[in-house]
Symmetry: C2
Subunit: 313 residues, 2 copies
């Protein structure tokens, strides 16, 4: 379990290396929902997602000896770029294990931050085995994407900044995938604005976190392919415990609502966000009663989306 | 002809009603071009485009008697929304003449700002005739999209804000359609940073402004359909004279470069822009020598783009 002091220390540690992202509002969206919504723009964060916070917090804490052997993780998403960015800041080696099916654009992005990529078969087993082999050979330190106190504390700094800047929030929302962001953010909210409700948002077709909290038993992720691809992963024991202890509730959105929520932010706020960042607004589109009359903080988790299909004119 | 004093007065007049938009930078884009580029984010302006500036400047100057009869224009683009917004601020009637082929989303946007829409046939002749008929019947005051000193002065405030915030610019760029934005911005740049080059950006398939400046004769717009749909229109005598007198040069970009420039801002800066706002970067992609080693101010003119084709996941 992490506490607010871990998040405050993380905030101080990472401040020189990450953006204190802006909080934006939209008169149109506020009018639509009859609410005051404050969007914390982690899509404008380094590497285009909140993941930079946790990775920098983890890498900056390594002792010299550990750091010298470099860091390693398996990911084809934002955590890979984030760890590569953090390792580059510290001038240490970074190895990313990626499935050989990863899109070229993601491979290029990670290489752009100076990491070495080792490909594996696109199965969870191959990822883990390849990572362990390489880690044993090189002595590289494993930095997991969410099942890690340093990561959770780092991600929580986004919630801390939100709560320090916007007073009197009735509700704070963030998407839930592995639970690293939600675990950290919930901890920051509980400590600084204890009366606020905390709602995690999840695709209805990948609602393992909701089920885990309902049953009290950690549920595995489904294999359904939601467009909110950052949320396909499941909670870990660590993040599950954190969410339970902070009184997080989970609400779901359909794929159509996620799409509408994503396009609402893009068209009205002129901000590019990834579908994982549109799930929160998707929940409110389905349950407008959750929003009405409330002051709401929403973490827009990232903006890394493939725009190649966009047709102009 | 307008002068810097007109722009300064406009700035004061419209300040309570428009956003002083942020200026953003991207380390990645700077590294790509070997330049320092400052993006003035008029996509984050009221109604999603710089057009709010000119329309508000025009409407706020009307005497009481004129204002009471309302305002009118013909447009299916950003000027229609901008005039509707400005009229709403002053609490006066606004009529927009639109071709009956206008996309439903644009019709809805203008209605959303409280304007009345009257449809006409999709020809320039039908637009003008319908507008004149309605104006005569109602006494509504015509606010043209660019061929108007108040409009040009209003749009120029975007350039004034840029030049006041960023010192020592070597080059300022804006897209050129009717020339209202470029005329105003060039006037602000000449007065405040007289040594800066000023380059207007135009699609190569709709390069009437370039031809006009080269030949010294006002050329009609082509009927080629560029994806930069805001730039399909031609200069007027008034904007043409302003561009000539301010020493504006014009450079062009292909449709492919416009698309790449637009997606570059969207993917790296996480800002939604319309293709008309990507033409400037399109020019620099084709002529990187224009950028290298320079401090460059670019007006991102707007963010009103149809995102319906976007496929996620």
């Amino acid at each position: 379990m992490i506490g607010i002091q871990d998040i405050r220390q993380a905030a101080e540690r990472i401040a020189p290396h990450i953006h204190h992202t802006p909080i934006m509002t939209s008169r149109t969206i506020n009018a639509m929902f009859g609410a005051e919504i404050f969007f914390k723009c982690e899509n404008l964060q380094k590497v285009g997602a909140f993941k930079a916070r946790g990775a920098v917090n983890a890498v900056m804490q390594l002792d010299e000896k550990t750091a010298r052997c470099g860091v390693i993780t398996h990911s084809s998403g934002n955590h890979a770029q984030a760890l590569a960015y953090a390792a580059g800041l510290r001038g240490i080696a970074c190895t990313i294990i990626m499935p050989d099916t990863a899109p070229a654009v993601k491979v290029a992005a990670v290489r752009g931050y100076g990491a070495e990529i080792i490909f594996c078969k696109p199965t969870q087993e191959s990822r883990l085995r390849t990572m362990e082999e390489v880690a044993q050979r090189t002595g590289a330190h494993v930095v997991p994407p969410y099942d890690d106190d340093r990561i959770m504390a780092g991600q929580g700094t986004a919630g801390l900044e939100l709560c320090e800047e916007v007073e009197g929030l009735d509700l704070v929302m963030a998407p839930v995938g592995g639970g690293g962001l939600m675990g950290g953010v919930a901890t920051a909210v509980r400590a600084t604005q204890p009366t606020a409700m905390i709602i995690g948002a999840e695709p209805v077709i990948a609602a393992d976190a909701k089920m885990s909290l309902q049953t009290g038993l950690l549920q595995p992720p489904t294999d359904r392919l939601t467009i909110a691809d950052g949320l396909r992963t499941g909670l870990s024991e660590k993040t599950f415990a954190q969410l339970r202890s902070m009184g997080v509730e989970i609400e779901t959105a359909t794929e159509d609502s996620i799409r509408r929520g994503t396009l609402l932010v893009m068209s009205r706020m002129k901000l590019v966000i990834e579908p994982s960042a549109g799930v929160t607004l998707g929940v409110l589109l389905e349950q407008p009663g959750l929003a009405r009359g409330r002051r709401i903080g929403i973490i827009l988790c990232g903006g890394n989306v493939d725009l190649g299909s966009l047709v102009f004119g």
